[in-house]
């Protein structure tokens, strides 16, 4: 005697996997249940959020050498924007977006700086936030990853080493470049060389895009905020960031003058004073003696005003100040 029963067909489940979900960063196809893009390791949650909330988040890149302060800058920025009651405010989307500010504030409150960001893209922290400001006509959605400085340098020197970086930068609406002001002031040219390399990379990317779209409307220049970090440890950096950059980063300054229209130089700092602590194996690490953020929000505020201005289709904005 036979009895009837209902069993799900395996082929029905396979149907789900036949529908590809495009990665929001590189556009590569992925299965619906993929956590990270198999092409660029960007979190697939970004694509799911974009489709479910019917938004098109803009991308902002925060770049800089190892130890320039990207993690601290981005973590403090998101924490400050989340706690503000007026002006520019941020509302994070997704639990993964809180990781960066949690790691950063926990370390700083404990009298330490966060550890170095790993080079592997699948271990980076991504932030997806909705930004509101009285100056913005409507809320702006942004995605900002905390990328490792070494990985960025590797991609510039050897293309396709980290495809996510190139794909991401190609799509960014604005860029924040962090430069360690202390190392500049001490005479190290590494910061200047890295920033010049990065600016060259960006300008060539812009030229490639412009040449591809030469028959169509020319794309506007992306705004770039050049932020001198750890400025609280450098005399006169806050008072005159442009003068500081002109003095200690002449190559970068000249490059900005000649290749970019939308560049502005800022100074930022988080620690009021620093010291060193010896850990295991006599490794010396830098520690903040107190946390007093300064100049963190201003570069981002400026960048957003330029991005929103570009989105409105206004003519190319005036030269950098």
């Amino acid at each position: 005697m036979t009895r009837g029963c209902e069993l799900p067909m395996e082929s029905y489940r396979l149907a789900h996997y036949s529908v590809q979900v495009e990665c929001y960063v590189c556009g590569g196809g992925n299965t619906i249940d993929a956590e990270l893009c198999r092409h660029c390791q960007a979190p697939m949650a970004l694509a799911h959020q974009a489709s479910s909330q019917k938004v098109q988040p803009g991308l902002v890149a925060v770049l800089g050498t190892t130890g320039a302060g990207k993690t601290v800058y981005l973590g403090m920025l998101m924490d400050m924007l989340s706690r503000r009651n007026d002006g520019l405010q941020a509302l994070v989307r997704g639990a993964f977006s809180v990781n960066l500010q949690q790691i950063t504030t926990a370390a700083l409150a404990n009298g330490e700086f966060p550890t170095k960001t790993p080079n592997e893209p699948d271990r980076w922290n991504w932030v997806h936030a909705q930004l509101n400001s009285p100056e913005l006509r409507r809320p702006m959605e942004l995605i900002i990853p905390d990328m490792a400085g070494e990985a960025v340098m590797e991609e510039i020197d050897h293309a396709r080493t980290f495809p996510v970086i190139r794909s991401f930068i190609a799509k960014t609406a604005g860029i924040v470049i962090l430069v360690d002001a202390i190392r500049l002031q001490h005479g190290g040219h590494e910061q200047d060389h890295f920033t010049t390399k990065l600016l060259t990379f960006l300008s060539e990317m812009e030229s490639d895009k412009a040449s591809q779209t030469s028959r169509r409307k020319k794309q506007q220049t992306r705004p770039i905020a050049l932020v001198l970090t750890k400025a609280d440890q450098c005399a006169n950096c806050f008072e005159d960031p442009e003068g500081f950059a002109k003095t200690y980063a002449a190559g970068t300054w000249r490059h900005c003058q000649e290749r970019f229209d939308e560049v502005k130089i800022f100074a930022a700092g988080v620690a009021g004073a620093c010291a060193y602590r010896f850990g295991l194996g006599d490794q010396r690490r830098r520690i903040p003696l107190r946390v007093e953020p300064r100049g963190i929000v201003e570069p981002f505020d400026w960048l957003l005003s330029r991005i929103s201005g570009n989105k409105k289709g206004s003519s190319r904005l005036t030269l950098k100040t």
């Binding site: 009021g272 004073a273 010291a275 010896f278 003696l289 300064r294």
Partner: protein
């Protein structure tokens, strides 16, 4: 033509010469015309020479650039030097240097009225922190006491320090108070500055190169910040001001005791406040980052943040220099880039709550002149003349701290 001096005679000469010219033209006499013209030129020349210096002075005044574009505080009227004692005392009191008058060597020269006036000034400006113990670097309450192996002077709670009674300023030193120091020649009085720092004093200038705090201009503070705490002063400038006014910087222990007001619950066990007003941070009690102001405020704001002893703004507004070196000599893992001095209290841009408590210690280079560092001063009761100390501290010296009643 308007000549300031001898106006009428010159006018008459001028008209006469014009008349001669007209007559000469009428009768066709070239000699008369020439004579009249020469006379007129002479009169004009005399008048111009008299007017010229004034015109040149006005022109040069127009060429001079306007230097003061910001509203600056006006210089206080300089006291007319007086030989009498009362005048000198008045000057010292006006400058806020009453502590000098209460020294044993000086007080006997004051009559009863001046003594009373000076004591009143002291009572208005300073508050007493009584003698007793304070626990520095308190450990967490979750520490397992059974594993504690402390040294002498330490308890499971932290390092205990006994203090003599001391007076502390009720509020940080303001721009107006510091202005008196600058106007009184404080930066030129080398005896109040450490000799080691004489070379660095060339850097103790304001934005326009005048001696003074870093963010002043032309030796003056901004007019709208008279009652704000003075900032942009190094530790050495704070010490010099203290010496000039007859006081000193508080030690870390004195500052902490004034803020957290320890109460001995039982022998060896103290309860100390996390904040001057209690245990929880409330945004309306202190000017920190959360207050959203982003700058210093006048010293009479945030009255709800008063300490038990009557000190204002112990937390927030500006960090305060103390006389103690930063860091513990027992902490071998800490390496400072240079010897640092201790800072206490937090400032308007302090971001984390745990860095704005009475127990948190920060530090900085003593030469730093930052936008959020100020100071307040202390005066040991032992430095006062006995009769002044008696009036300040009462009849009993070294009164014990109040002990909580046993349950």
């Amino acid at each position: 033509m308007d000549c300031s001096k001898r106006k009428w005679p010159l006018l008459c000469v001028g008209f006469l010469n014009i008349a001669v010219v007209i007559v000469g033209l009428g009768i066709g006499s070239l000699a008369l015309v020439a004579l009249g013209a020469l006379g007129s030129c002479y009169a004009l020349g005399v008048c111009y020479r008299r007017r010229g210096p004034k015109r040149r002075k006005r022109a040069s005044a127009r060429r001079e650039p306007v230097v003061h574009s910001l509203p600056m505080a006006s210089a206080p009227k300089q006291a007319v030097p007086q030989d009498d004692k009362e005048g000198l005392v008045h000057d010292l009191l006006t400058q806020g240097r009453y502590a000098l008058l209460l020294r044993p060597q000086i007080i006997d020269n004051l009559d009863a009225a001046l003594k009373r006036r000076t004591i009143e000034e002291l009572d208005d400006e300073m508050a007493l922190v009584p003698a007793g113990e304070v626990v520095l670097e308190p450990v967490s309450q979750q520490t397992d006491d059974t594993t504690w192996e402390g040294e002498e002077g330490e308890t499971p709670q932290g390092r205990v320090v006994y203090l003599e009674p001391v007076l502390l300023d009720r509020h940080p030193i303001t721009n107006a108070q510091y202005q008196r120091f600058v106007d009184g020649g404080g930066y030129e009085e080398m005896s109040i500055w450490d000799e080691d720092i004489w070379g660095a004093m060339l850097d103790f200038v304001d934005e326009t190169g005048y001696p003074g705090p870093r963010y002043w201009r032309n030796g003056k503070h901004a007019r709208d910040k008279a009652e704000h705490p003075v900032t942009g002063v190094s530790w050495y400038e704070a010490v010099a001001y203290a010496r000039w006014s007859g006081k000193r910087l508080p030690t870390d222990a004195e500052w902490t005791k004034a803020g957290c007001w320890p109460v001995a619950m039982s022998p060896g066990n103290w309860q100390q406040r996390r904040y001057p007003w209690g245990e929880s941070l409330e945004a309306d009690r202190a000017n920190l980052w959360d207050a959203g102001i982003g700058d210093t405020v006048p010293i009479d704001k945030f009255e709800d943040g008063l300490s038990v002893g009557g000190l204002q703004q112990m937390i927030g507004n500006v960090w305060e220099w103390t006389s103690t070196a930063y860091g513990s000599p027992d902490d071998a893992s800490l390496a400072l880039p240079m010897p640092m001095k201790s800072l206490r209290g937090g400032a308007f841009d302090t971001y984390f709550e745990n860095q704005a408590t009475c127990h948190f210690q920060s530090g900085d280079n003593p030469l730093s002149r930052k936008h959020n560092i100020g100071f307040r001063l202390a005066l040991g009761v032992c430095d006062l003349a006995p009769e002044a100390a008696h009036l300040v501290y009462g009849s009993a010296e070294n009164e014990p701290l109040p002990v909580a009643a046993e349950a």
